[in-house]
Assembly symmetry: C2
Homo-oligomer: 227 residues x 2
DNA sequence: CGTGCAGTTGAGCAAATTCAACGCTTGTGG
DNA sequence: CCACAAGCGTTGAATTTGCTCAACTGCACG
């Protein structure tokens, strides 16, 4: 069983070629009894890759996960960030259509897909849960679609509100992801994201405590942008 | 029971205010026994509206359906076109998050949602079918997301290929929808769609037999744009 | 034959991208 | 402890892409 994790290479380009570096997140494919136990993933470690068999469902315990695809021209599109409590990895087919990586060091619980499916076949409640999980993911994807037809300001505002919803109660938002991650999620460039954030700061809508620590000062402005 | 259908108003603007005109597509909400029988919908007739209870599942028998939302600023975003054979109207919640309209005159079969859900609770096969239908819809939505981060040429090429896949065998594609529909699906303006189509015609990639009759002359170019 | 709608085309403009330089923080090695 | 490189983020200037506004064409229908 080969142990290898794939992470982003360190070049300053924005296209995503990949490079093999360290120890393995895929041990469990040979050790199905690990299902249900939390597994640690390092920053940028791959959880699964596009085209791999979709044998597990995943639940984020701590950290954050990005779901993404790399286009032929090297651009990357992130379809979702998953934060603690979120389940991900549900796929219609046998194979993953997307890749998943840990944004920062993360702890993730794995459950064998076949176990869940078998349980669902027996138990209507499980089937129902699985279905509503998929349906929620569908709504998420549709909301993301609506994001991508808006202006840069609107997208960034929507992103900030979405993140603050995912971290309720925190007055200072601690974003786990980089500007590049945000840009690839919003379909913008890092420069545009950066400029838009400073613009929002200049208008006292937000406060950039540090580049990844943001306070939402004026939610009504953000809500209006989001509308 | 009030009979009324809602259609687009006739103004030249691109924002979508609405105006009541003619006879009712919602008879079935009072006549559940109609479930399973095909119902006719006129061009632009509303099938269901955002916020209405999601009491039915729908299957297109003939014609075409657009699923859309109208933003606060009046712009419309179409999330999907459904052609004969497609099932639509599956929603995670009790209410429709989107609206559905017939693109052209269409025939659509309705099935009571509660019947399907009850069947799914008893029968694992039905539950499985329902789940995979939802999952397919999810993949569709994700594919659409990937569309919206591409250039205008790439979006139009992807649209043409998608449509040709939905109408296999036809050498001349007969598009049921207007330029405005296409634009709202691709997140572009009608002008950009029009210009892009003429550009593709000038490069002999497609042939515009008539504005809604298109022949794909050079699929490899389209595929390259799509990649 | 006019009217209305759908689609096309053109010119100017605005928004976001591209390319480039720079600043700040962090980690590493002398 | 300082020097320096690497990563990440910000800022500026030029460019490109698609949008806006406007005019015009072709077609269908009365």
């Amino acid at each position: 069983m080969q142990a290898q994790t794939i992470v982003q290479d360190g070049r300053s380009t924005r296209s995503y070629r990949r490079q093999v570096i360290c120890a393995n997140p895929h041990l469990m494919f040979g050790a199905p009894d690990l299902a249900g136990l939390p597994m640690p993933f390092e920053r940028n470690a791959e959880i699964y890759g596009e085209g791999e068999p979709a044998d597990y469902l995943y639940k984020v315990m701590s950290g954050a996960v990005r779901i993404y695809k790399v286009l032929t021209d090297g651009r990357r599109q992130i379809s979702a960030f998953h934060l603690p409590g979120d389940v991900f990895g549900i796929e219609p087919g046998k194979q993953h259509a997307w890749s998943a990586e840990a944004v920062g060091n993360s702890s993730i619980v794995l459950v064998k897909r076949s176990l869940v499916l078998r349980a669902a076949a027996r138990d209507g409640e499980v089937a129902q849960a699985l279905w509503s999980l998929t349906a929620r993911e569908l709504r998420r994807a549709q909301d993301h679609t609506m994001l991508l037809v808006k202006s840069a300001q609107e997208r960034v505002a929507a992103f900030l509100l979405e993140m603050s919803q995912l971290m309720p109660g925190a007055s200072i938002m601690e974003l786990p992801m980089s500007r590049q991650d945000i840009a690839d999620y919003l379909g913008l460039t890092i420069e545009t994201v950066s400029r838009t954030l400073t613009l929002l700061e200049e208008t006292a809508t937000i406060e950039l405590v540090a580049s990844r620590r943001i306070v939402l000062r004026n939610r009504s402005v953000l809500n209006r942008l989001n509308s």
